[in-house]
Symmetry: C2
Subunit: 560 residues, 2 copies
């Protein structure tokens, strides 16, 4: 790879008619980024004028023309001071993981592949726990908590009287009736009903919250593969996903230079980054699942935790005795992590080492505040296998592990399926809430039919909207290429927008305070044929405008 | 327009690995087209082999390589003999509508624009009622009824033991537990819970049924506009929509030669054709709504009924006193038909002439068996207006009109919204079933958020899947260009597939017998990495294959 490929070609254009604003905290010196869309037309609600709409903004500094972007420097570490002031962490003199050490010493890696001036890792000082849950349980409202409270509200207090909306139906959630307060955030985190994935080694990320009583979030998977893409392209994929609305990204990279790629992504990601560490551990044993060991996995956790990964998917619920439950399935085990662990368990005839070492895993996570996303290794890969004994057995074990993690003050979410017919979706949420004590649910889709490869962003957006409405906290996107190949940038955009739609449909269904404001003003613009405002208020202004301009019919009264 | 533009460029390629089969009736000499997809791999269910999957086929003769297509001749009138044998209709010596007569006499219309050898119209002989509902109430199982029973089953009796599927949740519908029988079809039609749109002047259409206890259907809107397209392009649009799965099409053409365009479409459409006659009536008064009269509208109904239109959208529920209920709405009246009639009512300060003449309308419809789709002229055009007093007031009137139509033995369905947040969708179905006595519900979407122009096939597929699951019988598609411009062919395909997904997700949710079979076999193919079978079983084999082949990663074990 030449240095040219690292040269950034990063999407930085601000959205049309949009301005980045920063709302200051009242408790802490936080400065919360939002996007203010200004309106060209006149809009009134109950006689009062509306001149702008403020929206949630995941795009980070990239859309702020006042900030110079240099992916070789990475983003501003906005949380660094908050972390230092807590005085419970220390900077390490070198990375702790043996693999990371060997990578640093490896002279065959081209210098251009390495992120310049890698920051030194931080870790909790001995005996300290540095998780947001730990602080929350102690009654401490951290800057991160105030940040997410302000962020969730989008200046709701300023415009709430202008937003008339339907009372929602929230299936027993504990949504706020008005603005979200820092104290509400703290309380939800202390109860384990929400998490703020915020590794102390990823101070560049803008804090965000995942929980049933907050806005529904979406995740976008990105990742290179042996056959494609350079590092700059990977960074751009992350930036691109965030631009369109990804609340977190999961880096599922495989292949060479996975360690270096991750460093570039984390340093340049404005949103939390998740990974599945077993993927990299498997590469370290040349793809032979049987050769995996706890030591190799443990070293991988530390390696990634010190790079700043904010949450790990850990398939600790794939127990030896559950594997046989998948024998009669139509599609067996489709989770990659699940397959790897099933192979390991069967070949050794031993219990899953992620389960047996779960306490030690938590010890590592709590020293960096890495959240655990308990993976559903036995999720159904087809409607036929939905809601079966294997799936729900694993879910029960995830509930048991949730309690273990919480005893360590480790933040937890629970991964869910997958492929589920529409009428069986609700049972997934109900069981998850019950078995896992209301820990946030994080699902892939679910896809509501298996017969539409090429359109699985749609088959799954249907399921995602429903499961989000029922109480799922974060929706892992699916792109049109699901089951068929690797997504390109356009696929990522299609997937992200489909999931923003699903998440927003869910927020509206739940009656999240203020959720309908943007819809209301866009509808007014539409009714007035104010095309520019309609485009600017939409999730994808470029596409809306492009579609409109490509048609030959124009109304004489349209504002251009 | 030159004769060259009428030269057919019609999509006739059969689907891959697919063969058109014809299943014979047992009561009547019907021959029901289906598509059999043969499998290259080995699939077993409970030890028994599956070598093919038979699927519902809306594509008509166009995908049968044994049938020669000539759009100047039109499709084979498969129902002609059935209609003749009922001996209750007569061939008219000329068209009855004055407008149609003047079109025929108009020498300025280029001969190439006219469909060659227009068939003579048929009409019920005096005093006769020729609707499927009329026969059903008399206990007669028509060939159309047997046809749709066979068609719905897709040879279910042959493979039912091979299809394990989830019990559905059907919200009180009366789905069959096993195969659908002709007698069940008759009974549902007699009760008004289902309709077979089947104008005696459209004998080319393959009978299909719309009702809550049958497969969920989808409609695609097509239509020219002054600025685009010739007649061949319009015919191809219809063929194209049917190819991907449209169960009915609505011809919303406006502009010049609307009469001639419709003739071409009807003669070449394998599915029922719906229209909104007020659109054409308005053109006859040069777009001035105030100038509309009952006489002009009546003549338009007859004109279109004698061409073979299978169902009319009639906005007879937009009552004068309801119009003021829309005054405080965010988006007023967005239905085009609704706006036209509101304008007429207000300018004349008279009751909607479609309401006051509804009995006479039914007299016309029952002489041709044109179904009435009672239009929702006051449907909400934004989430803000969902489920409001205006909408539900009109719905109550539609219920009243349903009873009137049924007294005439006219087949009825009820149109529904529109823009509805996910949690308010169910109320729409419940109210419709109650107020309209379980007449089939036919909804546009609904869109579950207003903020995603450019992606409204997705915002609405979410709503469509839900409303279909709750009991809506037919889903009117929305394309990605909704609100922005006229759809092109790719948009039509995207819209149709999104709606096939929604309809199928609904069938699976309801637990329609056999609905899961295709999913099960496709999932097996996917699990075996049998790519060809996965593509061939999918809703859009071309796109699935194309997406797969565009990626560089191939597994060594894949079947090509």
């Amino acid at each position: 790879m030449s240095s040219q490929t690292v040269k950034p070609e990063i999407s930085t254009t601000p959205f049309p008619a949009s301005k980045k604003i920063y709302v200051k905290g009242k408790i802490h010196p936080v400065s919360v980024a939002m996007r203010e869309i200004s309106l060209s037309g006149e809009y009134k609600v109950e006689g009062k004028s509306v001149s702008s709409v403020t929206v949630y903004d995941t795009s980070g500094a990239y859309t702020d023309p006042n900030i110079e972007i240099d992916i070789k420097k990475g983003l501003e570490p906005i949380r660094k001071q908050w972390i230092l002031e807590r005085n419970d962490t220390e900077e390490l003199s070198e990375v702790s993981s043996k693999f990371a050490q060997s990578q640093q010493a490896n002279g065959t890696i081209e210098p251009e592949l390495r992120f310049p001036n890698e920051p030194k890792p931080r870790k909790a000082t001995t005996g300290k726990i540095v998780t947001q849950m730990h602080y929350a349980k102690k009654g401490i409202v951290t800057p991160e908590m105030e940040y997410v409270a302000i962020r969730e509200n989008q200046r709701y207090e300023e415009w709430k009287d202008l937003c008339k909306q339907h009372a929602g139906m929230n299936w027993g959630a504990a949504l706020r009736k008005g603005a979200i307060t820092p104290e509400f955030v703290r309380d939800e985190i202390a109860k384990g009903r929400a998490i703020i994935p915020a590794n102390i080694n990823h101070p560049e990320a803008e804090p965000m919250i995942i929980g049933r009583n907050f806005l529904v979030k979406i995740n976008a998977n990105i990742g290179n593969s042996a056959v494609r893409s350079g590092i700059a392209e990977e960074v751009e994929k992350a930036v691109w996903a965030c631009r369109w609305g990804a609340d977190t990204i999961m880096d599922l990279s495989t292949g060479e230079h996975i360690h270096q790629t991750r460093e570039w992504i984390v340093r340049n990601s404005p949103v939390p980054v998740g990974t599945v560490p077993i993927y990299q551990a498997l590469e370290k044993v040349d793809g032979v699942a049987e050769d995996l060991t706890w030591e190799i996995y443990r070293d991988t956790l530390i390696e990634q935790a010190e790079q700043g990964v904010d949450y790990f998917t850990i398939h600790a619920g794939v127990l030896l005795r559950y594997i046989q439950l998948t024998a009669k399935r139509t599609t067996g085990i489709v989770s990659r992590g699940g397959s790897i662990l099933a192979k390991w368990c069967l070949s050794h005839h031993q219990e899953n080492f992620l389960y047996t070492h779960f306490d030690e895993i938590c010890e590592i996570l709590k020293a960096y505040d890495v959240g655990v996303s308990l993976g559903d290794g036995l999720r159904p890969g087809s409607l036929a296998d939905a809601n079966d004994h294997a799936q729900f057995s694993e879910l029960r074990t995830l509930g048991e592990l949730t309690n273990v993690a919480w005893q360590h003050d480790v933040q937890v979410m629970i991964e869910g399926p997958g492929h589920i017919p529409i009428h069986l979706i609700k049972e997934n949420v109900e069981k998850e809430l019950e078995e896992c004590y209301e820990a946030p649910f994080y699902t892939l889709g679910p896809l509501t039919t298996d017969i539409a490869p090429g359109y699985d962003h749609i088959t799954s957006a249907i399921g995602a909207a429903n499961i989000g409405w029922y109480g799922c906290a974060m929706l892992c996107y699916v792109t049109p290429k699901e089951h068929l190949g690797l997504p390109n940038k356009e696929d990522v955009r299609e997937g992200v927008i489909a999931y923003k739609i699903a998440a927003h449909a869910a927020d509206l269904g739940k009656g999240h305070p203020g959720a309908q404001f943007r819809d209301n003003i866009l509808s007014q613009a539409r009714f007035k044929f104010n095309w520019q405002d309609q485009f600017n208020l939409s999730l994808d202004p470029e596409k809306a405008k492009d579609f409109h301009e490509k048609t030959l019919v124009k109304r004489p009264d349209e504002v251009t």
